[in-house]
């Protein structure tokens, strides 16, 4: 470990420090084949069924933001982790760590929102836990959800399926969640115009697998670290290069303006209702149409492709036809000064 052997906020940023913490501290503690794969969901064989199992903790400030809240986020985030693994979500747990002093009315609002999100996906929250800690020991409320899902029989997704010539699709505009949260937190003038994409991608994922089965090679929800982190990981894990076209990446202009104002690279900004799909070249157009036919995939676009390359890097072909590298983000994004 570096940086003085203490946990920094950047260790939770989804970038390189997070990666390093997981590999040098967390994985060695539990060593097993299933965990070592570090997939969004673990796959476990139970009898003749393959079960997917995942967990995630949610800490977000503010608790309520334009487009969602911590309750909806906690349900959709875990559903998405199951969905991108090619599973049909079956049931969720929901655990609360509440700071002493939180108004019950706020808790009710959060739970109602979580319940609504679960209902929309036809999934039940079947178990949970409640802990209260003294004031100052937590920030209002933290939520953990775990989820189990049944692996779809047609699903054959994994890094090992990816090959040169495959296309990359993103299901809609990127960076909306991260920039909405940041601008709402900082009281920026854009805040009213931006909306988090907080939502489920389960419909998209299920439909893609149903229609295109093994032509869908890989899916991932680009949350922390944004599109950059997801693409870097694909390149790292496959030893293949990736080329993406800046002009093809869907971005909401207000989100872009907010990112520019703070000096952020939109590719590094978190999403909470998007999926990146790697699909075989010949089925890419069909895959795109399926995405667009879904409620949360209307702005989907083919943004690039997997390439054979002596240097397995993610390269962005820019608007002016220049090239630059896209990497796993470093540390925590810090707003710039002027």
């Amino acid at each position: 470990m570096t940086a003085g052997d203490k946990i920094l906020l950047a260790h939770g940023g989804g970038g390189r420090l997070t990666d390093e913490l997981i590999h040098s501290v967390i994985l060695p503690a539990f060593e097993n084949q299933t965990l070592n794969k570090l997939t969004d969901s673990a796959e476990i064989r139970l009898g003749k069924d393959n079960i997917c199992f995942t967990t995630d903790s949610y800490v977000v400030k503010p608790l309520f933001f334009n487009g969602g809240d911590i309750g909806k986020l906690a349900v959709c985030g875990t559903i998405n982790d199951l969905a991108v693994a090619g599973a049909k979500p079956v049931a969720l747990s929901l655990s609360l760590i509440i700071e002493e002093g939180l108004e019950i009315s706020i808790l009710k609002k959060i739970l109602a929102s979580a319940a609504q999100a679960a209902k929309e996906e036809n999934i039940s929250i079947v178990c949970g836990d409640t802990k209260v800690v003294e004031a100052g020991s937590a920030d209002k409320i933290f939520i953990n959800t775990s989820g189990v899902g049944l692996k779809l029989s047609k699903a054959e997704v994994g890094f090992e399926k990816i090959a040169a010539g495959d296309k990359i699709i993103v299901s809609g505009t990127i960076g909306d969640h991260g920039m909405t949260i940041m601008s709402q937190r900082e009281g920026m003038k854009f805040e009213s115009e931006m909306k988090s994409d907080c939502g489920s991608v389960a419909q998209i994922c299920a439909k893609e697998i149903e229609v295109l089965d093994s032509d869908i090679k890989f899916m991932r929800d680009p949350t922390r670290g944004g599109l950059a982190a997801t693409l870097s990981e694909i390149s790292d894990q496959t030893d293949l290069g990736i080329e993406i076209q800046e002009t093809q990446i869907p971005v909401n202009p207000t989100t872009q303006a907010a990112a520019d104002m703070l000096g952020f690279d939109i590719l590094n900004i978190a999403n909470e209702g998007k999926v990146v799909i790697v699909v075989s070249g010949q089925k890419a157009d069909e895959c795109l149409e399926i995405c667009k036919s879904c409620q949360n995939g209307k702005d989907a676009a083919i943004i690039g492709q997997i390439v054979k390359s002596s240097e397995p890097l993610v390269e962005l072909i820019t608007m002016i036809k220049g090239r630059r590298i896209v990497q796993m983000p470093y540390g925590r994004e810090l707003p710039r000064i002027c």
């Binding site: 707003p335 000064i337 002027c338």
Partner: protein
Amino acid sequence: MLERINRAYIQIARAQKSLGRKINIMEVCGTHTVNVFRAGLRDAFPEGMRLLSGPGCPVCITDQGYIDAVLSLADRDDCIIATYGDMIRVPGRNGSLEQRTNRGNIKIVLSAEDALKLAKQNPDKKIVFVAIGFETTAPATAVIANEAIEQGIKNLFIFSNHKLVIPAMKALLSEKNHKIDAFMCPGHVSVIIGSDAYKPIVEQFKRPCVVAGFEPMQIVEAISEICRQLADNTPAVDSVYPAAVTAAGNKTAQKIIEETFDAVDGCWRGLGNIDKSTLKLKGKFSELDAEKQLGVKFIHEEDLTGCQCGQVLCGLMDPPDCGLFAKSCTPDTPVGPCMVSSEGACAAWFKYTRRKRRNQ
């Protein structure tokens, strides 16, 4: 768009022919530095033109002594440090602000106004505003200084190390071995100071000064205009960002800067002491002046061992030529400020051009 790029190519070739060598254009703004990389411009332009990243990143040009002084204030239990985000990871001789965040007294602010709010919310603490940046951020500091006096707020302290761009540009051109053929002038700063502010540089040093916006094509246009001037040997002040920048600038902002600060001699990382380049609060604001009220002093300190940020900021070295670059100095473990700031030249080189993979 490609047509405009081709036109720029032609001007670059003309300028190169006219000078009989590679041409060096310095961008004096961290946002330009980053956007040049993000847009892939370095890759798109011919080798005969070099872009040098100048002293345009506020954190990067801040002297080591000031950073250590801020850290000493952060170690005090009676102080809350209100700082722009870029600053928190800059290493001092004894760690960084980021490594002190568990003390709970480091607050990231997006504007000076947030520091004033913090002062009101924490009446029993001394709020120290780390006032750095150029003419862009100085007016906001001036506003809170005036508001704090008007509202009788006694616990806000301003640790001013604001810098002025023009004296630094002159200092760079006064160095014997500088390589600068022209300046691409900063967009935001020019909104405040106005494009006429560059006239003395053109007159004294015969260097083109062209103000650019931040869109890739605005940068291309600026480069094209700079090269045309170099080729024709007609250095002048020009702006390809006319929508935002006027000849006279923002008079209101200039006035409040003048009324609030004195321009005094001050140290810059890499450039050393520059006459009348640093803004300190005027005497009438002395009750807000952190240096006067909190007993904090800072003197120029040399950069940390081996760090070449100073050379990079003067356009004398590209980051990859520094012995620490991508070895002991990375965005995760920065040695110098140019690797920390999102506007820093070293960070931009590392993030957007480094062709090695993370496991290597």
